[in-house]
Symmetry: C2
Subunit: 360 residues, 2 copies
């Protein structure tokens, strides 16, 4: 069994080979840790910086056994890790963080909102949809328009449809092929914010200043941080994050997406039990970024400071936008992060840029 | 042939597998580059984060051919690269930066000081020592005590002896086994400073604020940066750095070690044609650290900003000092960098810590 805090030279296992795993591996290396990645394809961008890479399906017992044998603790970079993978890792005796429970809660939108409300955290109103017969009454109760989503999977706006009446609702449900669904009431929000929060193995919670997020086509486009918010909004966000992380006995970094309503109240839109795209500004705006913070938590180290040292505008480089690297390289205040991915497919996150200016 | 600026996804080759290569590889990854390391042993700490590692002697033609085949440009992390390695790489058609010429100048203390003086840069007075017969007259001319060093190799104070009279001088020369030597006059300096300077492929030179260095037993112990210096000292250092880098048609980061005399004049002690231990403060004190700056230069990207965002005290963790990682991890203002090395031998640099406080 791992002995926390993990000593330098220990190995952090990471499920997933994307950019979040890549940036976790870079952070782990700074602290003297080795990394072993389990990726489901040969050319993963995290493998370029990991100490070791295992290639195999995430539910493959042999691959997971290799990972468990090589790692002192295992974390993940995406929330759609098959539950069976975490179960197998647990059976193999390797600690995972965040826990299987946190993952299960975040993987099911009904379980997530039910958990949040039970923990005293406000969300939009919602109805689970088990069958076509339920959707009409649910829409009547929540009011139109409402948002139909699959209960599981789907990110960056995938598998989500706004529905305005019974006919649209039935059609949208048909398109998702009878999968379990959730219907969510519309939130009359003025801004989308997020708080990147971390909880250590000692139960300490630390939050970064909030980011203000702008989406385009369901994909995060820009985050401005620290967001200009009232002291009461900041306090609300910290309370919300502490309730969520503590109720889950969470270990690691979590992205908590928030709707800010006109009256100043914050609703939680969703939680991501991992480092989060809207926290990439911390890479250049804070002493300890979200990736190091996550590694610290997972390794049982004390959390680091979360103060902002600069004002940052983070812009995702999506698809062929990364082809503008030459202009970005010449922009003095632009810190460029490129993920080492091959083909710039439309909608693919290829990198991001943090533009810095002094704090007011 | 490589086409500069190198596009993301290109591969940077690094001769040497130590901590400087490791931190270069981390910086290269941030910008979307792959790295290939040539290390002379299996367990190099840079290999833990490199995309690819080749293991072999630095002068091995087969290993160098693999490196040249895998890399778009090759740089190095230490200045004692065998000249033959750079020559072979050049024959193989892969560009190297810094150049073989810069390396040759820095590898020979007589060539180095002669070059510096010719470029209009002041150093201590010196005499090349080719034979035992020369050392007495040299000591008489330079005055005692004087410092006898081998012309080539030796770092962290190795191969250096203070000599006070003819007998000591002859004995010291005997101990270095008749190797070509240099006798240097003592500098009556009040402080040791260093400037980390970079020059891009376009000829632009950028300097970081100076660091003040404290050595113990010939090894760098601490750097405080930005050093508290007069505007004239800062201007002198920038002029000196620009002269050196421009005269060498240098590409990359160079560490320039300086003696500050009581009258405010700066003498150059030595130049290191590579990223430098006294520049590690930039990792947490600047937007673009010396490692990213070096990669930018080598890849033909524009140089980044060199402004300090914080005051930093960098302390090397030498030998078993890295065993105090648990205390360091808990220190809020201490950013810990550990190199992933195995055994903590006495005198071995195992990591460093940057302690931050706001700029005055």
């Amino acid at each position: 069994m791992a002995d926390f805090p993990l000593k330098p030279g220990s190995t952090i296992g990471i499920l997933g080979g994307g950019q979040l795993g890549r940036m976790m591996a870079l952070a782990a290396a700074r602290l003297g840790f080795r990394t072993v990645i389990l990726a489901d394809h040969e050319e993963s961008c995290a493998a370029q910086v990991a100490s070791q890479t295992i290639v195999g399906p995430y539910e493959d017992r042999f691959a997971l056994k290799q990972l468990a044998g090589a790692a002192d603790v295992v974390t993940y970079e995406f929330e759609n890790v098959p539950a069976v993978a975490v179960k197998i890792l647990a059976e193999l005796g390797v600690p995972t963080a965040p826990s299987a429970h946190a993952l299960a809660v975040a993987q099911d939108r009904v379980a997530e909102k039910t958990f949040l409300n039970t923990a005293g955290v406000a969300t939009v109103d919602f109805e689970p949809i088990h069958s076509a017969a339920e959707i009409g009454p649910a829409l009547d109760r929540l009011g139109a328009p409402a948002l139909l989503k699959t209960r599981r999977e789907g990110y960056d706006g995938k598998g989500q449809t706004w529905v305005d009446n019974h006919a649209e609702a039935a059609a949208a449900l048909g398109r998702i092929g009878g999968k379990p669904a959730i219907l969510e009431a519309a939130a009359d929000f003025v801004r989308e914010l997020s708080v990147i929060a971390a909880r250590g193995r000692d139960g300490e919670v630390a939050c970064y200043p909030l980011g203000e997020n702008h989406h385009e086509g369901g994909i995060l486009r820009r985050t401005s941080a620290p967001a200009k918010i009232s002291a009461s909004a900041a306090a609300q966000a910290e309370t919300v994050a502490a309730r969520i992380l503590t109720a889950l006995d969470y270990v690691g970094v979590m992205g908590v997406e928030l709707f800010e309503l006109a009256d100043g109240r914050l609703l939680v839109n969703e939680i991501a039990p991992r480092v989060h795209n809207s926290g990439h500004w911390t890479l250049d705006g804070c002493e300890v970024d979200q990736f190091e913070q996550h590694i610290r938590a997972v390794a049982g180290w004390p959390l680091g400071p979360t103060t902002a040292l600069a004002r940052v505008e983070m812009t995702n480089l999506i698809g062929d936008e990364a082809d503008h690297w030459k202009n970005l390289a010449g922009e003095q205040e632009a810190r460029v992060w490129l993920y080492g991915k091959g083909a710039a497919r439309p909608g693919r996150k290829m990198g991001h840029v943090n533009r810095l200016r002094p704090l007011d």
